[in-house]
């Protein structure tokens, strides 16, 4: 008897079982169906956005008899999500009718011809006057046309655990004035409260654009004016001391072991870990993070209900490097609802956007998603102001918040920054060397349109 026969039979059986059960799902191309693509949290327990979108979809179907909304939730890390929707949008056969876009990609996707201008629609829409001018600008292309309707914005600051601070002898009204004061607090925690991670700053390629924005740019924007892009010369900036200092800050955090274990910090799951484990399990003292964190701990759809968070965690602005005015720094971003160029149902998609951003639904989303309102009427609503503890603090940061240079090259620049951070954090390069490599990568990414600054 040949010994291979039963083995091959087994293999065939298992393969067949695998392929046969993964049966294809056919989809009719229905004229009355509007397809909506959006990002689903990598933590499957967090369903805040899914629940909200489903809610709005049901309302839309009820108000528009005969019309259907098909949801295309894409469960992926942010970078993989961008890639996926860009590929989908390239062909009329796969393009969704409505897509959820991060504003930092909007200009890049406009230039690639993936999105449709919505000017005719928004100009005829009364509610558009309610939107904050800064939010409107976030979805405007370089051609001056509007390519999306924002559904909220976000700001960034320091979250800290008051209980751990008490143990470390640090004040519950902590308000650091410089980078050094942040590092000193972290060192104090490390010394006095062993077993706790003193400070988390997102870094490297794993966390994707989150590391670049929450981590690096929060540092860089506090070192001086226009350290990334110079609007006067319309060129990208190389060789600044601020860039090296920002990498130096990361170097200090990870070399002095003030941050999470380097291998965890560089893992693609670090964002989920921080929000779902490290903060709720009180293993992390200080976290440089976004305003939306609270959505993870909501009672419904939050995935990790943690009612005590509002009293356990405090928020404070992130300081500039040496306390330069205004003394605090924040970046604002946000997402928009946009209609792909290849959409087969653009008018229906617009109708759905209107449903999403009706006053009622916009308020619902800001409350559920711990979003910072972009509609003035929502921002003034008492329900919004009471919705999430800390919302007042993060909303107050909007007026000092700066924006990323939303240019077509920005995603590539961000990727190069991520690599510089990764090299420093992993110990593969000194901040100086990583900054030099970044300058070279930047020149390639923006076709040499760079300007050197001290």
């Amino acid at each position: 008897m040949r010994p291979t026969a039963p083995l091959i039979l087994l293999a065939v059986a298992v393969v067949a079982a695998g392929t046969l059960t993964a049966c294809g799902s056919g989809s009719g191309d229905d004229r009355n169906t509007v397809k909506v693509a959006f990002i689903k949290d990598t933590n499957a327990k967090v369903t805040v956005r899914d629940d909200y979108i489903r809610l709005v979809a049901r309302e839309f179907e009820k108000d528009n008899p005969g019309k259907k909304v098909r949801l295309i939730p894409i469960q992926a890390s942010e970078n993989d999500y961008y890639t996926k929707i860009q590929q989908m949008m390239r062909s009329p056969r796969t393009a969704p009718d409505l897509v959820y876009e991060d504003t930092f990609l909007v200009n890049s996707d406009i230039k690639a011809g993936l999105l449709r201008p919505l000017d005719a629609h928004v100009n005829a829409w009364d509610d558009w006057r309610q939107f904050e001018p800064a939010a409107k600008a976030a979805a405007r292309g370089q051609d001056g046309k509007t390519y999306g309707v924002p559904d909220g914005t976000d700001t960034r600051g320091l979250w800290f655990n008051k209980k751990i601070f008490r143990k470390a002898g640090l004040p519950a009204t902590w308000r650091p004035k410089t980078w050094d004061e942040v590092l000193d607090a972290a060192r104090t925690v490390k010394r006095r409260v062993p077993g706790v991670i003193p400070l988390n700053v997102f870094t490297g390629k794993g966390a994707g654009e989150a590391a670049v924005m929450q981590g690096f740019e929060m540092l860089l924007y506090g070192t001086g004016e226009n350290q990334l892009y110079d609007p006067a010369s319309r060129k990208w900036v190389t060789g600044t001391k601020g860039f090296k200092d920002s990498l130096g800050f990361l170097d200090t955090v990870y070399k002095e072991k003030l941050g999470p274990d380097v291998s965890d910090a560089l893992s693609p799951n670090i964002q989920t870990n921080v929000a779902a484990e490290l903060l709720p399990e009180e293993k992390l003292a200080i976290d440089l993070d976004g305003s939306w964190l609270g959505q993870q701990w909501q009672k419904t759809g939050g995935g990790n209900p943690w009612p005590a968070w509002s009293t356990t965690l405090g928020q404070t602005p992130f300081p500039t490097q040496h306390g330069r005015p205004p003394g605090r720094v924040s970046l604002a971003g946000g997402w928009t609802w946009s209609v792909p160029q290849e959409s087969q149902q653009p008018d229906l998609a617009w109708k759905l956007i209107q449903t999403f951003q009706s006053r009622k639904n916009a308020l619902e989303w800001c409350v559920r998603g711990a979003q910072i309102a972009v509609r003035k009427d929502v921002a003034a609503d008492p329900r919004y102001l009471r919705s999430v503890p800390g919302i007042g603090f993060f909303t107050s940061l909007v007026k000092i918040s700066q924006y990323r240079p939303a240019l077509p090259e920005y995603p590539k620049v961000a990727a190069a920054i991520g690599e510089a951070m990764e090299a420093v954090t992993a110990g593969d390069a000194s901040p100086e060397k990583a900054a030099k490599d970044y300058d070279a990568a930047l020149a390639t990414a923006v076709d040499g349109r760079t300007v050197a600054k001290p």
Binding site: T4, G18, N107, D261
Partner: protein
């Protein structure tokens, strides 16, 4: 074309000219659909890929692509990250395919011939389960095995041995081990078949002549299965060169670029940095690496025998 040819050769009788053509067409006709499909779905995309590799196509951020000649290839050879990826790809392939899967597969096939039936079935089932698992599932399994709080460290901790994050300290070793774990079954099957094809008389007579186990392996077994070795090496290598999901799930090519093999590099450039043209050029170069390996193996198989 045939009409023209017919016009030029009036000397031949009509029937003699027509018959072979019709036969040829008849013989070819059952293959026609397959040929058309192959051209459409295999040659088409490959041709398109080759075309894209000579343009600066991007996924986003660009109005229209233009032809850039050899710029992408020049860029690759000047890119330290690309050279790093080539070296890592070779290390990964030699470690996991040539040394790992191939040798272990042969050893398992040899041992299983002697093993009792239950042991044989059990081992076979285990090895093949690893093979049948989708690449991405295997990737996550091995991720949880090597991860800092993973199984391997739990075992080491229990034995009072020092633990570390293997995916961080030895990323290439970890992904190579994963590939061996996943792919050995294939070699084992090929070698099981090859070994069972060796006539028992040959082995027996060698044994009677007093040849020990190692001598028999070296002088009888290996030469007799050398063709299978060649085939196996070739298939294994080609498969290993293109491993992506496993590495992506376990390390994403990190930390830094320390486990960024060519397929991961290609994905990074094409989709994360949206440089589709450059990524495709790298893919073509990867194809070239595979071709070089194949030629070497084919030469090995052809000699003597």
């Amino acid at each position: 074309m045939t009409a023209g040819a017919a016009g030029k050769a009036p000397a031949l009788p009509r029937a003699a000219r027509r018959a072979p053509l019709r036969t040829r067409l008849l013989r070819w006709s059952p293959l026609a659909p397959a040929t058309v499909l192959l051209l459409l779905f295999l040659a088409g995309p490959i041709g398109y890929c080759v075309f894209i590799a000579f343009t600066d196509t991007q996924l986003t951020g660009q109005a229209s692509a233009s032809f850039v000649g050899l710029a992408n290839f020049r860029r690759a050879f000047g890119d330290p990250a690309f050279r790093n990826a080539v070296v890592l790809t070779l290390v990964f392939t030699v470690l996991s395919s040539i040394l790992g899967q191939n040798t272990l597969g042969l050893a398992l096939a040899g041992l299983m011939r002697r093993a009792s039936r239950p042991v044989r079935s059990l081992t076979g089932a285990m090895v093949i389960t690893a093979w049948v698992l989708p690449e991405i599932v295997a990737g996550f399994l091995l991720y949880t095995f090597f991860e800092r709080r993973g199984t391997l460290n739990a075992v080491l901790d229990w034995l009072h041995l020092p633990t570390q994050n293997w995916l961080f300290t030895l990323p290439v070793m970890a992904v190579s081990f994963a590939n061996v774990w996943r792919g050995t079954a294939f070699s084992m099957l090929i070698y099981s078949a090859a070994l069972s094809a060796i006539p028992p008389e040959v082995t027996e007579s060698a044994e009677v002549d007093g040849a020990g186990g190692l001598r028999r392996l070296w002088h009888i077994t290996l030469p007799m299965i050398r063709r299978s070795i060649g085939t196996n090496l070739m298939l294994n290598t080609l498969q290993t060169l293109s491993v992506f999901g496993l590495i992506w799930a376990m390390t994403r090519g990190g930390p830094g670029n320390r486990s960024q093999t060519l397929p991961v590099f290609m994905y990074d450039q094409a989709f994360l940095k949206s440089l589709i043209g450059y990524g495709t050029a790298v893919a073509l170069l990867l194809l070239l690496v595979g071709a070089v390996f194949s030629v070497v193996y084919l030469r090995l198989m052809r000699e003597e025998v």
